[in-house]
Symmetry: C2
């Protein structure tokens, strides 16, 4: 129950969430919202829950929490080749929530919703005796039968990743309360870049159409490249040969690895990349790279799909060390 200093459920929705609603949200005044996929389109549906203390720090900037809650869902839609159409939010507010917190949260959420053209169409607001808990279900449109699957990778396909890998996991160390020694070796700009990559992941929405046209399989990298690649290979029942030296790293990530070479494993296995892992047939991958480049998103080939379900052969400098941690898990 809200106390006298705070708005009730309906004022709260009217003040902070109704401004994020699209036409399908019906002003958040009804029991339901509407999705109207165009003729010949299907609706891609994805859902992610985030819990304070598990997926983010409870005292993270509320605008960053709002941004990230939607970003991780938009990242899934992008990987599936889908254009964002809308989302619903359920939010369980802890006892000590404040109106200022909620206002900033809604502002961060709304900023990405507007940027991505993905309005709020419904949701629910409840209270909890536990930590802040968010659940977003996001909707995207794809031409019927064209959703990009995890299971489509074929032997001979080229394996590619978008952007740079490892920034999110390194950024978590930079941003978190216990900063390792190597953080001091970075300059302010490098620290800021990595922390921002953790706090404000940029969903690769602009890649959706290129993936839908040229990719044989795709997923977003949320639990680390190594672990998510293993999931894709398992779903596709194929193996891969990956050149770790080809995995793209940002300048700040390279600086961190120079300070502590053991961080390479964190970059390859840590979570929170929100980049795209995809495969494309030999005859398609250069078109895919070119289409991505039109949106200023680099796509880098890092290996090949081979036969042999689930088997990965890593080459390159870090290959000998193995991966002690495997996939990152938020569970």
């Amino acid at each position: 129950m809200a106390d006298n200093q705070r708005p009730g459920e309906f004022e709260l929705i009217e003040r902070y969430f109704a401004p994020l609603a699209g036409p399908g949200g019906l002003g958040l005044l009804d029991d339901a919202g509407l999705l109207r996929p165009g003729r010949g389109y299907e609706v891609v549906v994805t859902a992610d829950a985030l819990v304070a203390g598990v997926h983010f720090f409870p005292d993270d900037p509320p605008a960053a929490i709002g941004w990230k809650a939607l970003a991780v869902n938009l990242s899934d839609l992008a990987a599936k080749g889908a254009k964002p159409e809308g989302f619903v939010l359920t939010i369980a507010l802890p006892r000590n929530w404040t109106e200022g917190w909620l206002k900033d949260f809604a502002a961060g959420l709304g900023r990405l919703a507007q940027q991505a053209g993905c309005p709020l169409i419904g949701g629910d607001t409840v209270s909890t005796s536990g930590p802040l808990t968010l659940s977003i279900t996001a909707f995207g449109a794809v031409p019927a039968g064209r959703m990009v699957r995890r299971a489509g990778a074929k032997p001979g396909d080229v394996v590619l990743v978008s952007g740079s890998i490892g920034d999110g996991a390194l950024g978590l160390k930079v941003h978190g309360p216990d900063k390792p020694g190597w953080v001091a070796a970075l300059d302010d700009g490098q620290r800021g870049f990595l922390a921002d990559r953790y706090l404000h992941p940029q969903p690769r929405t602009t890649l959706a159409e290129a993936l839908q046209r040229h990719a044989s399989a795709a997923m977003d990298i949320s639990d680390g490249l190594v672990g998510d690649l293993a999931k894709m290979l398992k779903a596709s029942r194929v193996g891969a040969e990956i050149d770790l030296d080809a995995v793209p790293l940002s300048g700040p990530a390279r600086a961190a690895l120079m300070a502590d070479p053991a961080l390479a494993e964190l970059a390859w296995t840590g979570g929170d990349d929100y980049e795209i892992l995809c495969t494309a047939p030999e005859g398609e991958y250069s078109s895919l790279i070119a289409a991505a480049a039109e949106h200023a998103v680099p796509l880098t080939p890092i290996g090949r799909i081979v036969s042999g379900a689930g088997a990965v052969r890593y080459s390159g400098k870090g290959a000998a060390q193995g991966f002690a941690h495997g996939s990152f898990s938020h569970f």
Copy 2:
């Protein structure tokens, strides 16, 4: 993180949730599910979050918790005139979850999903330091432009409710830990009926088509008849004249009110009915009643819509007492 005695996230999904998945869930092996509305149909989207200790007792039977989490969403779809098509579930499991709990939860959830023809198409499983938290987003299909709104009630329309009112709120008292004196005046069958109405609400899915054809406005009653009627009147910018003596009560509810006449207010204002409140024009309401009767669902006229935004005039025995509590709030 799961300990050694419990399945990990992927085993858990494979063992307990994949069996609930429909074709659009893609075996819960991808990052997203698919909705394929038929040509000329729109997707109605509704979401409800439930928190242990707020919406249900933490030690309620897990199968009942699973049933209810889906039921409250299907109730919204029914009120909107939509046929259930699928749902996504995000679940935040508390530290002390057990495999047995989860198995029973999934069984209760799956029983209603199967009965309603509403398969699981995706979701997310995370851990929390707080109470069990569930969020379900459910999808239904309506012919384009035919979703039944809250805002469609017009002066002269007849106001109707489905089933019987107040059983859920009375059932909460019967089921809860602090049993009031009147509970002892009921027999076992009456107590069982009311508790079951609280634990296993029956969404009025079979009413959807009749509402979509004949109703001018509808919503489900989740926060009490009096409070939810006020919301409908506000959205429709109309008033109503309601005969409280006409509000349908079940036999066990009548027995409770005989034992303690003051319970009438609880019946009219308490939550957890999951019945349908609707309006229909003079020329349509008998067709609506007849269509509902084909599915063995009684619809009872309880009053009329009048002009005058938000004004309700209650008549009947309880009308003089006023409503001290107004709408029930889970927030």
